[in-house]
Symmetry: C3
Subunit: 390 residues, 3 copies
């Protein structure tokens, strides 16, 4: 059988019926905070340190991915599923990402900025990036489809009877080597049930490990639900790239918090009068979040589009730039708002510079200006990443 390496281990059987590979990635970060009201601790950290086993066995396949940066091996589960070829795509069973948010569909190896925007599991689907269930994804002509029905858990969250479903449709009417136009939409529905964790939206408005603003909360054990609908618009033209997403989310409420608990959870006193006996009433909460991000490849490369993911990948360095790599200027404006609570809004403005040493190695620098309207906090972060994937 044939052995191959591009930094990984791969073997393909001569008859083509079997293949297996072992890859991985290391993302090593440094965060320096300019703290305001909240005391954020500057530090270094492994953002990701993963091994990825993949294989094909006739028309079945598996992926078993573990992130050692997860702490426990259960928290470290990423894509872990078996799949079967079906209708120009594959049926998956196990743990994988529900199909929602273009930002979420982008591989962590291919991010433009250090972190994904609020419309992903970084914010709106806080902590629910991976779920366990069954789904199908495939590419039909110039459409990328994905749908999943899931139990409301990943390997690291408690066993529970919550259920959800999500689906996404992406359309790329234009997709050449020089330019791409992408339109997309996704919906998600999650119904908490016995032993479910809380459904929450949070805004980490000053980058990872900085302060976090709770935006909406549906208690896990009361049987409430949360749903979202999103629109995506993105495109690339030569060395330029632009991507925007707008998402509306509804979080079921109808419960009371004591004034102390409200302040603990939301970081500031309730901006409305609370009942002296029952406490602060939390009704249904509507979340609006959107972002615009873009980049300019200073060295002229073009960001390719992955039809399989329905999302952009990173440009391959042409090797003509300074130090033989590619250079990219990046920016993003990201905002999230709960219109049911006065001033419950957080924004992030980020500018960045990426250096791609080769297809596997890159360095990223972000300056994030955070702004929390609810607490008045204005923490900033300078973030740096050294990354290798193989």
């Amino acid at each position: 059988d044939q052995a191959e390496t591009k930094g990984n281990l791969k073997i393909v059987s001569d008859d083509g019926n079997f293949s297996a590979s072992l890859g991985g990635r290391i993302h090593f970060d440094t965060y320096l905070f300019d703290s305001d009201q909240v005391n954020a601790i500057s530090t270094t950290e492994f953002r990701r340190a993963r091994i990825t086993l993949k294989g094909d066995i006739y028309d079945w396949s598996y992926i078993l991915e573990q992130d050692f940066a997860g702490g426990s091996t259960l928290d470290g589960f990423r894509d872990v599923y078996l799949a079967h070829k079906f209708l120009d795509g594959e049926v998956r069973i196990g743990q994988f990402k529900p199909f929602r948010s273009m930002a979420e569909m982008t591989s962590s190896n291919e991010l433009t900025m250090l972190e994904r925007p609020f419309s992903s599991a970084t914010g709106l689907y806080d902590g629910n990036q991976f779920q366990q269930g069954i789904g199908w994804t495939g590419v039909l002509d110039c459409f990328t489809l994905g749908m999943m029905a899931f139990n409301l858990r990943d390997a690291g969250t408690p066993r529970n009877e919550g259920l959800g479903a999500a689906g996404r449709l992406a359309w790329h009417p234009v997709n050449t080597d020089h330019e791409t136009l992408h339109l997309g939409t996704s919906i998600s529905y999650e119904n908490a049930n016995q032993n479910s964790s809380d459904l929450m939206a949070e805004a980490d408005y000053a980058g990872r490990r900085g302060p976090s603003q709770l935006m909406a909360l549906t208690p896990g054990d009361l049987g409430g639900d949360a749903s979202t609908a999103a629109l995506e618009l993105a495109g690339s033209y030569g060395p330029l790239y632009l991507q925007a997403e707008y998402t509306v989310g509804g979080f079921e409420g109808n419960y009371y918090l004591t004034e102390e608990d409200f302040e603990d959870e939301f970081g500031a006193p309730a901006p409305f009068p609370c009942d002296p006996e029952f406490g602060c009433f939390i009704g249904d909460q509507t979340i609006h979040t959107w972002y615009v991000q873009g980049s300019w490849m200073l060295t002229g490369e073009h960001k390719p589009y992955s039809q399989k993911r329905g999302a952009f990948s990173s440009a391959k360095p042409s090797g003509d730039g300074l130090w033989g790599g590619a250079w990219e200027l990046t920016f993003r404006y990201d905002t999230m708002e709960n219109r049911d609570f006065d001033h419950l809004q957080a924004n992030s403005t980020t500018v960045g510079l990426n250096f791609y040493a080769n297809r596997n190695v890159r360095f990223m620098l972000n300056y994030i200006i955070g702004d929390d309207d609810f607490t008045g906090d204005g923490t900033d972060q300078l973030g740096f990443r050294a990354q290798i994937g193989w």
Copy 2:
């Protein structure tokens, strides 16, 4: 050197002195409960998600297996040992299974039902599936032997001074491509000591993650001991297979529990009068457990017998069945009883259907009717597994 894959990664040196492989398995389960007295939570769960490194170095070998479904990496240790060829077998040092119970010796990839019966570490040797020590196993003519002396711990349990030993002898007077007859016996002795965990027998009578009935308890730190003796009878004939095991266990007692503690531990009030001052006296406890399980390969395949393990493996699909795979009807009756306490008995009756897509991929469906005489609980479970091994 030669690279090979059947879904795994394997390299064998040209001189045959070295070889190494990286395999793994994913078992993804769904449990739906029909609860009775106890509120069992229906859920999905990774039953196993393992990587397995194996290698040969001259006449030495190693195996390093980690189950990411274990939670902590210490709880994830499975077979982890080095071995040396010796007398038609191998001497092992490290962590592996004590040689006791035919069900235990069956690989988790080759189980007929979702879970092993009570006579294994699922019940009688609760939580003591793997132990650390030294042992030898080998095949002599039509006998499979195994013996191990061990410290009473695996990597995930506390350091302690408990010691144990177990041995097993299996005989297959008939073993052809069409029929096999198997007889076996095993004994085990465990002596708790300083810092040892409790020695317990438990009956998970409604499947995994369902209710659990404590059957016997020897406190770990008091220096008590537990011992078992087992008889095995099994056979296959064409597409039919039958396996039965009978085990008697003795758990040393001679301690008192308060009435509250008794009810906490055993799930119901003590069925005998307790001393008002000292509490409920627990003397020596005798456990009887046996099961009968069998299956019929609807598509006609034959279950092979592994001489090395002294246990049955799964049939290889001939490819002629519905959806190109093999189909198997299965059943089991499993019971465990502590005759020293009135009504302390639990039973499981299971029927199931297995579909083997190919040698690596299978799906299992079990309906388990649980019955706990002691508490009167009658929880049932519908369990489903998607499995791939490579």
Copy 3:
């Protein structure tokens, strides 16, 4: 591409631009204590159970090493970094060992005794074996250099703003197949800051999992610092080998402990009068530690010297000894002292015997005579290791 194995998996691309390998190691220990004042629990234990992924991608490389004996995957991080060739060496970014102490630079696969002496992270740099940061190491002529600037943490310790730096210079004026002379020096500086863990020196004077004597303590959150300077002298001549290190360390103090806390931390009452109001004053603490260790290869082999590490490796068995392997007699005297506290001194005297079955497999036996002057404890340990590395 080319597949290779010596018990590991390795693939090298035909053009030499890429390579990848998967190795590992299992170290399985048994500790038997002859306890004195402290009740040490005899036990078996996996000292190490690691997988190691390495790869080269053009002039970049990575290493991702996880020790499953760590408990959590964060505690299991060992060498995890990306590196770039630079000036006859490599620049590293990520997690690796600060360059200090010859004993620390010795691979755990190549240790002469079961554990490293006090002058390493086993004692003087307690718990700070790996740190996160950036550094360079290389070989220039007959000099081995290494320097690192780091955040005061590894993946398993809390995020904090502590910083440190360490550097080492080793010189081998003589290095032939028959004899080696080594001189070396290293310095280290660590400055605790917000959220840093305590900086501590400890003496595990009766081997691993035995009693531990705290030797010096700089609280982590008060911004104190710790610094060390070390001298190394080592050499080999035919089958003989000798290695010695002397280190002075300064731990900043200037804080008070209550009398109870002092006894809890140091294991005995304060040997000086404490203030009735503030408690026991801990000023700056000066640590002296040194060891001498050596060995005689009974079967005549010679211990090679690794220029890259600036440290000795293990002899390769010639195959002529008893059972076809190599045999080695070993000894060490190790001592650590805090001269600011009366009688705060601990010593270890170890004799040992190693058997090398082949290049990958070895067995080690140590008898350790422990002596704690501060508490008067004299626990001894008999330790045994079965080891395989690939």
